[in-house]
């Protein structure tokens, strides 16, 4: 990618797009969402909540549709349905003998289907493609404001509770034994997940938002053994991928969400191959030497 930049005069290539209002908005919202999802992805990967992330991000769909139809902030609707789906998953799991991953799959597809049905039935100017695949290049100013607000809330919560959440992910038993309310942390993390899913929906859409919520964390996890460094790496790789993804989408006129996630995946692959300690090429080397 860097070669590509060098060959075609990087200055112009990077600065030209900034003269467009829509590009400035897209870059702002993508980097903000990238930062938020990158930060949260550390907890998601460490807690093993990839499937939960997928579930919540799909389950917010009917909430977004209802919110747009009623004219209330989409974040509110998404939040209600995101947390609602999680509560429902917990309830069904407790009351039946069906295994958790089955329940998760069952509930989120149910919610998602409900969202699809609602979109087709409720008369509104919602663009299904916009929700499913995101469109940071066409984001409205009110959506932009809401997304920025959500991002700030999520970052604030994650920063205040970062140590507690880390302890909760690492050793919930110990957290309880020193008097920390783990039930509260559980629902806090799920609420934050719902909010981040709504934010991510703006840039990459519902289908791909789970990538934003796990890939940066997984990449950083391959690169370090320190949690603080891991959050830093996840956030920076996520922001980098988001910005580069938007640019590539602009230059080559490809789908923005896809391009962001693809860049993220490539970054992961690079870490997977070349990470100093955990990359497959290096671990093979240490085995033979």
């Amino acid at each position: 990618m860097t070669e590509f930049l060098v060959v075609v005069r990087p200055g112009e290539l990077l600065l030209d797009p900034l003269s467009h209002e829509f590009m400035r908005r897209a870059l702002l919202v993508s980097s903000m969402v990238g930062a938020v999802c990158g930060l949260l992805s550390c907890y998601m990967t460490l807690k093993g909540w990839a499937l939960m992330g997928d579930a919540v991000s799909h389950a917010v769909m009917p909430g977004v549709v209802v919110a747009y139809a009623l004219g209330i902030p989409f974040a509110v609707g998404a939040f209600v349905f995101g947390v609602g789906s999680v509560a429902l998953i917990g309830f069904v799991k407790q009351k039946s003998r069906v295994k958790e991953d089955t329940v998760i799959g069952l509930v989120f597809t149910g919610f998602f289907a409900l969202g699809l049905v609602l979109v087709s039935k409720i008369k509104s100017n919602i663009d299904l493609m916009h929700i499913l695949f995101g469109s940071p290049l066409g984001i409205s100013i009110s959506d932009l404001q809401q997304t920025l607000l959500i991002s700030l809330i999520v970052v604030f919560i994650l920063l205040v509770f970062r140590r507690d959440l880390l302890l909760y992910c690492f050793d919930a038993t110990h957290a309880r034994s020193i008097g920390i309310n783990t039930g509260f942390l559980h629902y806090l993390l799920l609420s934050v997940l719902s909010l981040a899913a709504v934010a991510g929906l703006q840039t990459v859409g519902i289908i791909l938002v789970v990538a934003m919520l796990i890939t940066p964390g997984a990449t950083a996890y391959l690169l370090t053994d320190r949690f603080d460094r891991m959050t830093f790496l996840a956030v920076s790789s996520s922001i980098f991928s988001s910005i580069l993804g938007v640019y590539i989408s602009y230059w080559t006129d490809i789908e923005t969400g896809g391009s962001i996630v693809l860049v993220q995946t490539i970054v992961f692959l690079i870490a997977f191959l070349f990470a100093p300690r955990y990359g497959i090429l290096n671990s093979r080397h240490s085995l033979t030497s």
Partner: protein, 264 residues
């Protein structure tokens, strides 16, 4: 070393458990288990595999909900005692993900979280407590290693250090001696005797009967319920042990404990 947080308590007992009953989905694991432990004593918890030792300790920590009975620590209800860092617990198996990106230092620091502010920013006193705890279990040189790079015994010592760093007045240790080398065993025994001197009380479950004889003031023999409880010299007899371990010949048991005479 600095003292532990010496919680004022109304009752005379560090641990009071009254007629605890626990069942797992209807299968009784423990019934009518009572225990009272004064300040400054070490109590051994002895019983067969599956006798309910871990269950008893988990019930004392509130991790399994007893169908009956109450627990008080330092005269306080359990939740309050936990919030005030009165009780530290080291489980038999930590059940943690060993590839977690935290260092030994980070893990031991987690013992201090309960005494920190909301953001869990360590103060100088917290750092000193962690340093002291790491020194006591001889892990200081490993402090920057990721938890995943430790051996099983070293990891066990890390979690003990975390409990020490908490500076609680009651310690509940579920088989702390399994999987540690003799040197560490000695080190831990000395540590427990020091804690006793400071007025803390320790409940230790163990399969090594020599430990009970060597440094436990009291012993609880259990098999689904408390079979016998009292001063080690009075309760730790061949007859009681035979009863506890379900009719095994006494000579075999004393062989396990490497002792000439258990009643000594």
């Amino acid at each position: 070393m600095e003292g532990f947080s010496n919680h004022p308590f109304t009752g005379d007992f560090r641990i009071e458990a009254d007629q605890i009953c626990v069942d797992y989905n209807g299968r009784v694991a423990l019934y009518d288990a009572s225990l009272r432990l004064r300040a400054g004593c070490i109590c051994g918890l002895v019983g067969m595999n599956g006798a309910g030792k871990s269950t008893f300790i988990r019930a004392l920590m509130g991790f399994v909900r007893p169908s009956r009975g109450i627990v008080r620590i330092n005269g306080m209800p359990l939740r309050q005692a936990q919030r005030e860092q009165a009780v530290a617990y080291v489980p038999q198996n930590e059940g943690i993900d060993c590839s977690f990106p935290v260092s030994v230092w980070d893990v031991v620091m987690m013992g201090r979280y309960g005494s920190m502010n909301l953001m869990r920013v360590p103060r100088e006193s917290d750092r000193r407590a962690v340093l002291d705890a790491l020194e006591r279990v001889e892990l200081l040189e490993f402090r920057n290693n990721p938890i995943g790079s430790l051996s099983g015994g070293q990891r066990k010592r890390t979690f003990l250090a975390r409990a020490i760093a908490q500076r609680a007045s009651v310690l509940l240790l579920d088989e702390p001696f399994t999987g540690v080398d003799v040197r560490t065993e000695k080190l831990m025994a000395d540590l427990f005797l020091q804690f006793r001197q400071q007025g803390r009380s320790i409940l230790i479950s163990t399969h090594d009967l020599t430990h009970v004889r060597d440094f436990c003031d009291f012993v609880v023999l259990i098999n689904k319920t408390v079979l016998a409880y009292g001063e080690t010299s009075k309760v730790f007899t061949k007859e009681n042990l035979t009863m506890t371990f379900g009719g095994m010949p006494p000579d075999l048991l004393s062989g396990v404990s490497h002792s000439e005479d258990l009643e000594a």
